[in-house]
Symmetry: C2
Subunit: 328 residues, 2 copies
DNA sequence: ATGAAAGCGCTAACAA
DNA sequence: TTGTTAGCGCTTTCAT
């Protein structure tokens, strides 16, 4: 800028003004400046600009794991949205580890990002830090996980009870007689999905036998183990709702390894619709909710807050829907 | 910092020095400062730091598409590496579009990133800009695509000729008699893979019939169409090397739709090893090269250059290997 | 319509 | 060992 100002015999203020489309600049001056800018291929230094403006036009996102296609789709949609609105995206991963999550949060704070999108690891320890961040004026939206109830921020979630209800109701409609459930880890979302499962069965007067409820987890191996357990109970399950797709895939493998067929002997419904669920040997029936909607909603919420529109924390629920393929 | 300095009745320089572990600070002072920093929960402003240091500790990465699992694995490994070394990652996607790629490059330049990792869209138009960036001292490493020969920078690639050779040689070893190829778009990498295919056949004295070479592309739909074409030629192919996995999957679908079996009637080999290739109905035999190695190599190259170690552009070749599953 | 001056929060010579 | 001063590149009052 100094260079341009010198070349043209004007002040840097003037340059700054034309670059920022201030009204109080003569058209002649404006043209001269623009011309020289073009010639020199000059680009304003965003760092200096940020320091002066106290706005970085950057949002950070922290997700547990990039390898999980679920988060990738969200990131992808989010990136598209914020880039269109002129923001940059700083990508971090926590590896489901509370300490790493904390250090990434601090890093984002140090970098003065305007907002943070967080898919929280189950890290109660970071609640205080999150509150600090919001108090400092950093916009925050939590996605996917409904943790940190004490933190007041936007949230983009799905309706987990409905997820479980849709899945189990489908098994009921398919005339399964003994409907089991592979539960997730003891967090809110697993519990809500189980609750939906219970409600669906209750609605038809089916009893729930504890032996048809298996403790599982979110991983394929968890689903495998849980299904082995379910298969050993009598009467044997002929329908199972697994807490998520990886667990459902593990469950399918266990069924096969037991010499049984999916869905003829055991029908299986998952949740989450991972990217490849329609490519596996028996395409998975599952409950999905739009990840790209999660991403764009998060982008809208955070940018609107940054740009000073909505202030009240909003809760956006992305509706789940049943995808019937062949496993149930 | 000012606040702390005032509280302690010292100068900001002192604070800066203890924060940056300068040697010339008394242990007493150092302790006092650290204590107050702790109490206040103070974190240095990285933006100001960057402005002063002319170093942002940030690297940008531009990839064509986040939805493609191939790039995700690279990004994931890269993020892990650079985050461990204290850098942040600014993620951009070009959507295979030269103009978007250009604007992302300019954005990264404006933000003064220390380095850029680029999986280039086939955008000859950006060569000049890339050269400018390197001349400005921004570290550059190109991954996956070997474009912009005029630009002097690090490159992390695989050996595409070898990819094609491994794939075709496997079909030969399997005793396929008529080995076809589904080619990619007319870019270097497709051509090299085709060259490898040619060499493998030539090595065994097999002739190549133009009718067994189909113009395809990188997408599933391309593979489907190309395979339909190949199936109509006589003698019919009994082995096909597809330029990449999506094309190979499309090809498999075409084989099934024609009422034939994989690999009994037509054996198929892909390349790239997308994440789900072992989950599909007939697990795909393919040629893979480590994406995480691509990511970590890129990270090492760029950080070493940023931190002033190697200056000479390096060319890192990630060796491909054959993964035999069930499609061939 | 244009410019001088102060300031954003930090680092780095150079003195003391 | 600590402090003074200048400066990183930009924006923004407030004058002119």
């Amino acid at each position: 800028m100094k260079r341009i100002a010198a070349d043209l015999g004007v002040s840097v203020t003037t340059i700054s003004k034309v670059l920022n489309q201030h009204a109080d600049i003569g058209p002649a001056m404006r043209a001269r400046v623009l011309k020289r800018v073009e010639e020199l291929g000059y680009r304003p230094n965003a760092v200096a600009r940020s320091l002066s403006l106290k706005r970085t036009h950057t949002v950070g996102i922290i997700i547990p794991d990039l390898m999980h296609s679920f988060f990738v789709e969200i990131v992808s949609a989010l990136e598209a949205s914020i880039s269109r609105r002129g923001y940059g995206l700083l990508l971090c991963s926590s590896g489901e580890d509370a300490r790493k999550e904390r250090s990434e949060l601090e890093m984002l704070r140090a970098r003065q990002v305007d907002g943070i999108v967080l898919a929280s690891a189950n890290a109660t320890g970071n609640t205080a830090l999150l509150r600090d961040l919001t108090r400092m004026g950093i916009a925050l939206v939590m996605i996917d996980r409904d943790d940190h109830p004490k933190v007041s921020c936007h949230r983009v979630l799905t309706d987990d009870v409905e997820v479980g209800r849709l899945a189990a109701a489908h098994l009921v409609a398919r005339r399964c007689r003994v409907i089991g459930h592979i539960a997730g880890p003891p967090i809110l979302h697993s519990q809500r999905r189980e609750e939906g499962y219970r409600r669906a069965l209750a609605a038809t007067g089916m009893a729930i036998d504890a032996r048809h409820l298996a403790a599982g987890g979110f991983m394929e191996a968890d689903g495998y183990r849980a299904m082995q357990q379910l298969l050993s109970a009598t009467p044997r399950v002929d329908g199972v709702f697994a807490v998520n797709d990886p667990a459902a895939i593990g469950a399918m493998k266990a069924v096969w390894d037991a010499g049984l067929r999916v869905p003829d002997d055991v029908a299986i419904v998952g949740a989450g619709d991972v990217a490849y669920s329609d490519l596996i040997r028996v395409p998975l029936t599952t409950v999905r909710w739009s990840k790209s909607e999660v991403g764009t909603s998060a982008a809208d919420l955070i940018l609107d807050q940054i740009e000073g529109e909505g202030v009240r924390p909003k809760r956006v629920i992305i509706a789940p829907e049943l995808i019937v393929r062949q496993s149930a």
